[in-house]
Amino acid sequence: MRVGGWETLGLVLRRELVLGFRRPDQLVQPLVFFLIVTTLFPLGLSVQLVLLREMAPGVLWVAALLASMLSLEALFKSDADDGTLEQLVLSGQGVYVIVVAKTLAHWLVSGAALILVSPLVATALAIPWSAFPVMLLSLGLGTLTLSWLGAIGAGLTVGLKRGNVLVSLIVLPLAMPLLIFGAGATDRAISGTSPLGALYLLAALCLLTCTLAPFAAAAALTVTLE
């Protein structure tokens, strides 16, 4: 009896989570970066709460994007360096399942961490509590989409020296729509208008990405492993 797809998903997911939590410092660093970047904006611009609140959704989202770029490196690089990525790809389960499991684990670890820290950051940026549910939901959808876009970018640049700058160069333009919708939703929640339109668009983008990106990321890995 062959090991099935779902069982594989569970096994690789567990592997990724175990590995992730054995290096807690690597989990925390992107979060600290997130906090630092958000601090840069008030320092560089203005501390007047009214102005801060207007900028807040954008600042929050840009900081989340940049922090995610940092954590992307961990997606495939470690496995590629020690040869275990090849073993995973040759395991007879197909690259698709492997990629889905790794990306999902990456989101659970880094995306979820960002979402958990975001209320802290949001309060520092004078975002009212009433906007939190929309903010959290949009960050949830956004970080998932970003994990997938990042999987494509990371898959294409695995094994390249200085690949991390190139990954950002590739992924950030593709991530601009989700920045627009995510920050737009949060902004509308703050100003009191309905964020539903933006949320629906964000959800549609997330759905589209989750459907198509695994194929692109799997193809990318196949090419780079040659």
């Binding site: 090991v3 590995l19 020690d82 090849e86 040759l90 395991s91 007879g92």
Partner: protein, 221 residues
């Protein structure tokens, strides 16, 4: 009735004798370098092929092409008569590939490494995995993180992985690296046992192989 069954069995026996790995005239370029120039080989049950050659002659590349990771520019590779591009996952289930590096996660214990790797191909209990580690002489390392193991111990854990998977085709790239005398003898004994049981192996090694069986040799230089 008896004759048709007998004929079918005879046909199967003939096919079985030809069953195995068949590599025909593969060409691979790495950038501008023509690394593999029309290499061909055949491997049947109970056969061990030693791929030798100096550095840079494409031994590791050949192995990667046989795994299917690197599609050749020209030529074809067939497993049991079918091209491997047609049945990649089935083919992968029947092979075990050990690359130049032992391919272990430093943060996982030896046992966990086996569990997460072997578990994708075969369900094995922790006891069975420990028993396999014992066969390759690293039972005491089962609960140690791989980064504290010596190079030789890591190589033995990699050996255990190949054993545990129970594959027909072994593709080993410089498997004797970092092994002491006892380890080398152990590896040779395991290879011999695998061959005698009807398995096949393609071993890349720049030195002579000391496996007491009729080993064919393919020199790439």
């Amino acid at each position: 009735m008896g004759t048709t069954r007998g004929a079918a069995a005879a046909a199967a026996a003939v096919n079985g004798a030809r069953a195995g790995l068949s590599v025909e005239k593969i060409h691979v370029w790495r950038g501008d370098r023509h690394v593999l120039k029309g290499v061909s080989l055949e491997l049947g049950a109970g056969e061990l092929l030693h791929v030798s050659g100096a550095n840079g002659t494409g031994k590791s590349t050949l192995l990667r092409v046989v795994t299917g990771l690197l599609p050749p520019e020209q030529g074809r590779i067939a497993w049991r008569g079918t091209p491997i591009s047609a049945v990649p996952l089935d083919y992968q289930h029947e092979l075990a590939y050990a690359s130049h590096e032992p391919a272990l996660k430093g943060d996982l214990t030896a046992l966990e490494n086996l569990r997460f790797m072997v578990g994708l191909k075969r369900r094995m209990s922790a006891q069975q995995l420990r028993a396999t580690l014992d066969r390759t002489g690293v039972a005491q390392c089962a609960d140690l993180p791989a980064r504290v193991l010596s190079a030789g111990q890591r190589r033995r854990v990699a050996m255990a992985r190949v054993l545990a998977v129970g594959a027909t085709l072994w593709l080993l790239d410089e498997p004797y690296t970092n092994l002491d005398t006892a380890g080398s003898e152990l590896l040779s004994a395991l290879l011999l046992a695998h061959i005698r049981a009807g398995g096949m192996a393609l071993v890349v090694a720049h030195h002579d192989l000391d496996v007491a069986t009729a080993t064919r040799r393919l020199g790439l230089d």
